[in-house]
């Protein structure tokens, strides 16, 4: 099943539109009919477990990998058979792939080869200003910090003004503190340049916090593509629900079950449930509790810790929740 909430379109062609992309590698359908549309200026995060095909999808979109079937269009132009060097997409790799023998400015100018010299210089300068690295233009990549290298890679990809930038796990090599900061930096740079982007990540928090829409992928298919709040609160499948965050499934009056995220549950002392695990999350505690018949539920509670492992307790929903997919 593939739910594609088409990008909001007001008569403008999508920056990127892919239909029915298939790719078979080593006897396995790595991409099994992928549809994806990205509106101009939109940032779609593509998230899924490792091996789900998200990096392959990016390579197909960039033209580095052929599709066995399907089509790719950029701003309304069909590029399915166009080689990578003529597609004009931006691409940022996890290792940044900066050209080590070229200065920062020459790296950024690399994709502007077709422009006259003066215009090339002006565009490079403008691009370095967008990523706030104008003062480092004469440095070599190895003289920069990890975050600065990331911004150079982004500036290089954005300089030729592609209709879409593809980012393949761009923050994978950065440490956690830097990741969040750079993540927001990248989002605001993309917004400033008005470029549409697809950002691949295996980190669900990153996917939810950075994306205008989140595409959840598994086994070569996009299972759901929708705004972060929608995929989180109204997942289209059990896989999407469980991949993005842990939840409790409580029997509902209608005979089905209701899905509740941890913040929608409350735990209180005394009752038929037993506390099995207590995790300290900083601003809250997360309780995993179990009933006599083996059902588990998860609830987040404020900073006090009224219960410990083994205590008897009761759980109750504080929000209506949604019918479990």
């Amino acid at each position: 099943m593939s739910t594609v909430d088409a990008a909001p379109s007001a008569g403008v062609a999508p920056a990127l539109q892919a239909f029915g992309i298939r790719r078979r590698l080593g006897g396995r359908d790595v991409l099994d009919g992928v549809d994806l549309a990205v509106a101009p200026g939109e940032l779609v995060t593509l998230v899924g477990p490792s091996g789900c095909g998200k990096s392959t999808l990016l390579r197909v979109l960039a033209g580095l990998e052929p599709a066995d079937a399907g089509s790719v269009a950029l701003s309304g132009r069909d590029v399915t058979t166009v080689p990578a060097e003529q597609r004009r997409v931006g691409l940022v790799f996890q290792d940044n792939a900066l050209f080590g023998h070229l200065r920062v400015a020459r790296n950024v100018a690399f994709g502007l080869h077709h422009l006259p010299r003066a215009e090339r210089g002006a565009r490079t300068e403008a691009m370095l200003d967008v990523v706030k690295l104008g003062h480092l233009a004469r440095r070599y990549p190895h003289q920069l910090s990890g975050g600065e290298q990331q911004r150079v890679a982004l500036a290089r990809a954005l300089a030729p003004q592609p209709s879409v930038v593809l980012l393949d796990e761009p923050f994978g090599a950065l440490d956690e503190v830097l990741r969040e900061e750079i993540g927001w930096e990248v989002k605001s740079i993309l917004a400033r340049s008005g470029t549409a982007a697809v950002l691949v990540t295996h980190d669900r928090h990153e996917a939810l916090s950075l994306g205008d829409r989140v595409a959840v992928m598994d086994h070569g298919r996009i299972l759901q593509c929708a705004p972060p709040r929608t995929v989180y609160e109204h997942p289209s499948s059990r896989f999407v629900a469980d991949f993005l965050a842990v939840s409790s499934y409580v029997p509902s009056a209608s005979g089905g079950s209701t899905m509740l995220r941890p913040h929608q549950m409350r735990v209180s002392p005394g009752g038929p449930w037993t506390v099995r695990r207590v995790e300290f999350l900083g601003a809250s505690h997360r309780y995993t509790v179990q009933s006599a018949d083996g059902t588990t539920a998860v609830a987040d509670l404020g900073p006090d810790e009224p219960l410990s492992v083994g205590d008897a307790c009761d759980v109750s929903p504080v929000a209506p929740g949604v019918a479990s997919p």
């Binding site: 239909f19 960039a62 033209g63 580095l64 990998e65 052929p66 599709a67 066995d68 079937a69 399907g70 089509s71 069909d78 399915t80 058979t81 166009v82 080689p83 990578a84 060097e85 003529q86 597609r87 004009r88 997409v89 931006g90 691409l91 790799f93 290792d95 792939a97 900066l98 050209f99 080590g100 023998h101 070229l102 690399f110 994709g111 080869h113 077709h114 290089r156 990809a157 030729p160």
Partner: protein
């Protein structure tokens, strides 16, 4: 809409395959021609050879190769361990200087020691296989040293720490961890040493050792019997192929032992007493391998120049330097250009292309006299067909000589460039493509500059090899043209040591510069990669 076109297939592909096929066919032709002649062996020649000289030639060749390899491995690997795993005053300088003997050809070190020792033991006793082996070890151990040192330095700090925590002492770490892990690298160095011994004709002639290579040269010049010479060349080729097989076998299971983020080998600080011993040993080796030959050469050179005797029939030093520069220079340029072109065409083009590329390196596994004989046979075939304008012949021309030199040393440039191209991150090339660069621009603007230290190292190694090259130049040089190495050859074959000093000194100085460039390139290249 369904589209099955592969956007990866690019218009440059056909050109690349033409480059690969053409280069490989040209470079491998002399060896192919020899293999052809093998199909039709002349039995009388073989019977004659077998009755007379062949058995003793084989024995002397095997003993000499074994002795030089054993000595070079022992000396090279232990010096490498000393420099890579220990810290003492002067370690850095000594680490560099220990490579310098590479610039002194065996046949130069040979006549220096021949002269020095004949005062002590008498000229007759000096001319022995064992002294010949010793002299060759002193000029060839740097191959093992270079490879082993890089392999030791590359071993992970964690591996060593783990071995120590399991109770291994310094010697235990060396024998049980470091040495086995460096085995493939040491084998690679040893293979180069063995190859150099097989191809040597200058040193063995000085010490009256009759090896197969010497046999090819004597047969060629003595009897002028091309048939017998090429039969002997075939036997020599057999020995070389055995070596290549042994090298493959020893290098099996070669892999990087250090994790990507792991620190490199820690160096143990030596106590003052230990430092003194380390210094004494390494300075001793340097004195014998470098100091004595240099001092002798400088002394003799001053003498001959003062006496105005620094000339040969072909002319003065200027003539020899000029012809060396022109011949070695054009061979180096052709070699580097075609080697880089082939490496670029082969890079990331799959297994068939790589296998074909490897065929182009057969010349390096062939001793010089073999390549020379093969080239003459191949070039003569072209001459007979009269494809060239009237009056022009390839045999005996400078072009013919350059061709044979390129065939012999093609592997140095091709493999050097190829190895560093392989290290260029694929994402870098894909980034260039996505940014609109075609195959040619990617090669010129990204691939070659990224591989620049590998290219530089290959060029340096190539010039060391070309300047001291002897057998091919001797056999194929145009009439009236003499290089530095043939001058040394002529003077030493008449036992005129002092006469050989000036060209030797120029050769050694050139070699030293090239070795310096090589070391800088290797060091920078290692930094760039890590």
């Amino acid at each position: 809409m369904f589209a099955h076109a592969d956007p990866r297939v690019r218009p440059g592909s056909l050109i690349a395959w033409i480059v690969i096929a053409g280069t490989v066919a040209l470079v491998a032709s002399p060896v192919a021609v020899l293999a052809w002649s093998l199909a039709d062996p002349s039995t009388e020649v073989w019977a004659e050879l077998w009755r007379t000289r062949l058995p003793s030639m084989i024995v002397e060749t095997v003993v000499l190769v074994a002795a030089v390899v054993a000595g070079s491995v022992a000396l090279g690997a232990s010096l490498a361990w000393l420099v890579a795993a220990h810290d003492f005053a002067g370690r850095r300088a000594i680490g560099w200087l220990l490579v310098a003997p590479l610039a002194i050809p065996g046949y130069v070190g040979g006549f220096v020691w021949l002269d020095a020792l004949s005062d002590v033991v008498g000229a007759r006793g000096v001319r022995s296989l064992w002294l010949c082996a010793l002299v060759l070890v002193l000029s060839l151990y740097p191959y093992v040293y270079l490879f082993a040192r890089a392999a030791f330095a590359d071993q992970g700090a964690d591996t060593v720490a783990a071995a120590r925590s399991l109770g291994a002492g310094p010697l235990g770490v060396f024998l049980r961890v470091a040495l086995p892990a460096a085995r493939p690298a040491i084998a690679a160095g040893a293979a180069l040493v063995a190859m150099e011994v097989l191809t040597d004709i200058g040193t063995v002639r000085l010490f009256n050792v009759s090896t197969l290579a010497d046999g090819v040269m004597r047969t060629w010049f003595g009897t002028g019997d091309a048939g017998a010479a090429s039969e002997l060349a075939t036997a020599l080729t057999g020995a070389a192929l055995l070596l290549v097989a042994a090298d493959r076998l020893l290098r099996r299971g070669a892999r990087r032992s250090r994790g990507a983020s792991e620190a490199t080998m820690p160096r143990r600080r030596l106590s003052p007493a230990e430092s003194a011993v380390a210094l004494a040993v390494s300075l001793g080796v340097l004195t014998v391998a470098l100091g004595v030959p240099l001092a002798r050469l400088v002394g003799w050179s001053a003498e001959t120049i003062r006496a105005g005797r620094a000339v040969t029939v072909s002319g003065g030093i200027a003539h020899h330097v000029a012809s060396t520069v022109v011949l070695a220079g054009s061979a180096a340029v052709v070699c580097m250009a075609s080697g880089a072109l082939l490496a670029l065409a082969v890079a990331r083009r799959g297994r068939i292309a790589h296998a074909l590329g490897r065929v182009s390196t057969v010349g390096y596994a062939m001793p010089g006299p073999v390549v020379a004989v093969g080239a003459v046979v191949a070039l003569a075939a072209v001459d007979r067909r009269g494809w060239l304008p009237d009056g022009y012949f390839l045999v005996g021309s400078a072009a013919g000589l350059v061709f044979a030199l390129v065939v012999r040393f093609f592997a140095v440039s091709y493999q050097g460039v190829e190895a560093s191209l392989e290290k260029v991150a694929p994402t870098m090339l894909e980034s260039a493509r996505v940014l609109g660069a075609g195959r040619v621009r990617t090669a010129v603007a990204i691939e070659l500059p990224s591989a620049r230290y590998g290219v530089l190292a290959a060029a340096a190694l190539l010039s060391v090899d070309l300047v001291k090259e002897l057998p091919i130049t001797l056999l194929l040089r145009p009439f009236g043209i003499d290089t530095l190495s043939t001058w040394v050859w002529q003077a030493t074959s008449e036992s005129l040591w002092a006469q050989a000093a000036v060209p030797s000194l120029v050769m050694v100085a050139t070699g030293m510069v090239a070795v310096g460039v090589l070391l800088v390139a290797l060091e920078r290249g290692a930094e760039v990669v890590s």
